[in-house]
Each structure stands twice: as C-alpha cells, then as structure tokens.
Symmetry: C2
Subunit: 117 residues, 2 copies
DNA sequence: CCAACACCTGCATATCTGTGCAGGCTTGTG
DNA sequence: CACAAGCCTGCACAGATATGCAGGTGTTGG
C-alpha cells in the first residue's frame, strides 16, 4: 500500500499483494509494541496467575495473592511493581494492607478469553 | 471458637473468602501454563508483527514476511521455528518457497482483539 | 552443471528477566 | 516503647532469549 518507488526496487516480493496485506495488518508499529508489552505481561505463568486472581477476586491483598498463587511475597511484590508501572493494576492502601485491583480493560478482556477454555 | 488444626495456622489469610475466589480463578495450573506460553509468543513485537501478517495475509512466504516486517530472514526463520514447534503455525512447501499459515484458533482469536484498537 | 534463490541451522554473544536474599519502611498491637 | 505484620526495595545471580554471522540444504533456471 504505502509504497515509495525507491523502496519498491528493493522489494523482490514473491507475492506483492500478500506483502501489502501483511503491511496493512501490522499497521502502526507503536500499537504493535504496546500490545506486545501487554501480552508479555501475561506471558509468565506466575504473573498470569496473579492477574487471574486479581481479575476475579476483586481488590485483594498482596499476602493473599501470595497464598493463592504459591508465590513468595517478595516475588509477588516484584511482579506487582511491573504491573503497576505498566498501568495494568492499581493499589489501594488500607492501613498496613495494600489491596490491588485490575484496571486495564484490554487485559481484563484478554483474561475473559481464558474462562472459555 | 475452636482452633482448626495445622493447616489453618499456615493459612493466615487476610480475607479468606477472597483467597478462595482467587484459587478458583486460577484453576488448573496446566491450563495457566499453556496460556502463558501462548501469550509469551505474542509478547515480542517482532513475532507479533509476524503473527498479524500471517493472520490477515493468509499463507505467506518467509521472505515476504521478512519484507513486510523488516526483520532479517534468518530472524524470521528462527521465530517461525518457535511458532511451528508450539503448533501455532504450519508450513506448506511449494518448490523452493515455504508458505506459512496460522493454525492456532486461540491465537487467531487473540489477534482479532487487536483489530478493535 | 552451475549459479542464484529461498530457506534453514548451529553457534556465540549480548541482553533481558525472574528469583532469592537481606534489609528497610510503615502501620498496628501488646 | 518494643515488636510483629504487611509490604517494598536494591542487589546479585542464574536462566532464558533474541540476534547476527557463517555456512548448510534443496530447488529452480540458464
């Protein structure tokens, strides 16, 4: 689609039409990167378990997450730090307890995909 | 209130009910691991671009994938090896050309989530 | 047969990332 | 006040991984 003449010379495509479709499918590289980051967060079993817990069990304390997942509390903290930095979860402090909740609607929707299977 | 044996002592949950919900949400650890693997495959910008291309541009040759994504052909091959090993894509040989296509329906469904945003 | 092409592989490397440990901070409790 | 609970951080280390390079296989065309 967005072909510049110059580039087309380097282009020795086997099926030019297919390549154009592929380029269209990729679209904005920034968007791809953003989604890749999201998927990467879900791409580790421990974090995925944490997110599933957060998704269903509403606001939940850090130590309870550690209990439910079997992950050590320091590892949970590290994971939550990532999720916080990426805007996936939010923290609410209540005394010495900190409860986390899921705030990224895209991630929430992805987690719903798991319920089916 | 009588004390329940040992187990309950390890269970120092802040909100026991929430913990049970969280455990239910996690469900089968194997299933979590399987999905985490899937998400991990989508969690790298290059592979995500490849998968988006495969998703929309049907069966497509390796060199065309390299063209569309801007990734060197050897890197594309390496990525496709992973995707092949995980059963995400399949290869069809046609002379000296090998065309790949997306075969994992779960991944396909996930990629549709990208079209919306 | 030879050369170009499409693709794959092994290896070495640099980078990333998850984890455990030790310790610190804040808040509630005796 | 002293202590414990809940949570967080920095650091060091091990494991995973993406990438480039060099070279290999198999196919097509002259």
């Amino acid at each position: 689609m967005h072909l510049v003449p110059q580039e087309r010379e380097h282009w020795r495509a086997i099926d030019e039409h297919t390549v154009c479709d592929a380029i269209d499918a990729i679209g904005d590289p920034e968007r791809v990167h953003a989604w890749a980051s999201r998927f990467a967060l879900l791409g580790e079993p421990g974090r995925l378990a944490l997110l599933l817990s957060l998704h269903r069990a509403g606001p939940i304390a850090v130590s309870d997450l550690a209990l439910a997942t079997g992950i050590r509390d320091t590892a949970v903290s590290q994971a939550l730090r990532l999720l916080r930095a990426s805007g996936t979860v939010a923290a609410e402090k209540d005394g010495r307890i900190v409860r986390y909740r899921l705030v990224d609607t895209h991630v929430s929707a992805l987690l719903d995909s798991l319920s089916a299977s």
